[in-house]
Point group: C2
Chain length 362, copies 2
């Protein structure tokens, strides 16, 4: 029996654990909350995430992975001392601790991204506006997700308020990209360098949170997306699943950001692909052969937040599959997702529209 | 959060628990062994299966189901006293406690089965041979599965030894059916009487244990199989998944036996159908709408026994999916299964042949 460690017991850790079980991989999740979302599917190591507990957590692990990228360096070092390989390695998320470093990394690899500037005060922001124009997106360099710590400055009158909303200093200013749509690619790289990419998908956000993913999308851009993905993965000597969010602008791709882990825009793969992103990640980080990423028909995935879905109503829709994360209700919290898979795209879209009012958003 | 009780924590309980989690259904498994196969996927109630513990087990359960049919009547009564609905109800497995009663039930419903006789001694067996001819199959009326407690009598010289092998008394003698092949139907009935049947599949046994299931099979017989299934389910006021094994004889169906639960010949549905038999059973017994039983392409499922499979070798076969049950190795013990799903039947058969040597059988 292989034991895999996972840092974090949210819904991603939970779905990784559910996918690991059939592969004969036992999962030990490190999460301070013994009742975390993963707690029904895995052994929970309910201690604070600090180096002092890493040795105990690491005992007997074949490898360790994570569901979030804010892992203290001291924990990484302690796992290393315990002889447990961290996959993906620290290099993959180090840049994610600071949006500015992430942008610099992408730029250094000649991966197209929006023009950007570091901003620490109002004067620097005015300078950036002068060079890059408006509108502009301001993001806190550290922390912040699902639209938190972000502001869009549309005109000169909104500059000061925007800066304040983004935290006032340690801000990344990005040119606003008038994109046609957002697409994302989820792919895996094995210990042996093997590569497998799921089809590119289209994402629609609402209130700064992913609402809807449809798959597959934009086949003409698949090769281009995979090429950028491989460049990033090879640079990072990446092992596991990685997601890149792209803006599609004038028929070309520009990277918004990447996530060194399984990703919300890959949840449709549980039903919609030959291998789910969760099983694929477990295979990769455990040194097993990758599975087929081929999609089956056309899928749509709807997130729901804040309130648990009416299970019976959702399941009464033909083909609808529910994925509740077993989390308590709280405003803006992702509580689950709903997937539908069809052989025909138009049928998929009709069912997604029918499911939309059944996926709570509050 | 709905909590579902399951009696038995073997691989069926485990796969039910893995399917229940995304539906927001928490599972409490009653199994004396705290390290049973289901223990990584469910809360385990590790007490002896007797009425004295039923009240504690039942606390807070919305419903209770089971993975095996040998449930003591006192436990059923105790669950009833605790106000927990048992689904399927006792009527569904009462006949399964005695192969003779099962045959009588089928006969009373005009469901075709092999001619049979009850045998308690050598004289009765000689009488049965005289009436029904040879070869003949002898089965212990109670207990016995996967070919245990069974004997085939091929000639007069083997009569006495066959009877001894089947236990000497309390034996069911059945005419040997020279069937073309064995097929099975897995279907579900909801609390509201809704009905959904998976496609008929073909089963190949080895050493008395299921080796290979291919799906779908025998579409011309689908309607006939569903009609017999509905007759049995309606008689039992059945709620949940039920499996019927048939012999195909001269293009018609004859029932071998039924199983009031999820069934080994339905494991292919995890990848090969829109809804797995496990999710379907959870939906049914929790009073939720049934899912689509439509198959996706062509599937093959291979059991492996005795020895754990070489995981890396299996997963290196294109499209192969592994389902390890997390059980210790033991001769003739089912340890897992391997599934492959293809769009074309011939491709499926080629991959199944390639997987055959990778599925241990000892």
């Amino acid at each position: 029996m292989t034991t895999l460690g996972i840092l974090g017991g949210g819904q991603l850790g939970r779905m990784l654990a559910l996918a690991a079980a059939p592969l004969g991989v036992h999962v030990r999740v490190w999460d301070p909350d013994p009742h975390c979302s993963a707690s029904r599917a895995a052994e929970i190591f309910a201690r604070p995430l600090d180096a002092a507990h890493a040795g105990e957590f690491a005992a007997g692990l074949a490898a360790c992975t994570y569901e979030f990228e804010h892992i203290p360096h001291a924990v990484v070092e302690a796992l290393e001392r315990a002889g447990v390989p961290l996959r993906p390695a620290e290099l993959a998320f180090a840049a994610k601790h600071d949006r500015l470093r992430e942008k610099e990394l992408l730029t250094s690899l000649a991966i197209p991204t929006a023009p950007f500037a570091a901003v620490d005060d109002l004067a620097q922001l005015h300078g950036a506006v002068e060079r890059m124009g408006l509108p502009m997106v301001l993001k806190s360099r550290r922390g912040g997700y699902d639209g938190k710590g972000q502001a869009v400055v549309r005109d000169a009158a909104g500059i000061a308020a925007g800066l304040a909303k983004a935290g006032g200093r340690d801000v990344l200013a990005e040119a606003f990209i008038p994109f046609a749509r957002e697409v994302s690619l989820v792919a895996a790289r094995g210990v042996d360098g093997a590569f497998a990419a799921f089809p590119l998908v289209e994402n629609v956000h609402r209130d700064g949170i992913l609402r809807l993913t449809t798959a597959p999308a934009a086949r003409p851009l698949q090769a281009s997306a995979e090429s950028l993905m491989r460049r990033l993965m090879d640079h990072l000597a990446y092992v596991g699943v990685l997601a890149i969010e792209f803006f599609e602008v004038d028929g070309a791709l520009m990277v918004n950001e990447f996530a060194p882990r399984v990703h919300n825009s890959g949840h449709w793969t549980i039903e919609g692909a030959e291998t789910s992103q969760f099983a694929q990640h477990v295979r990769a980080v455990c040194g097993l052969p990758l599975g087929s990423p081929t999609s089956r028909g056309h899928s749509a995935m709807l997130n729901y937040i804040g309130t648990e879905a009416d299970r019976a109503a959702v399941l009464a829709v033909p083909g609808a599959q529910l994925h509740s994360y077993g989390k308590g209700e709280r405003a803006r919290r992702k509580l689950g997702h709903i997937t539908v898979r069809c052989d025909v795209a138009s049928e998929r879209d009709a069912l997604a529209a029918r499911l939309d009012p059944l996926a709570p958003w509050a």
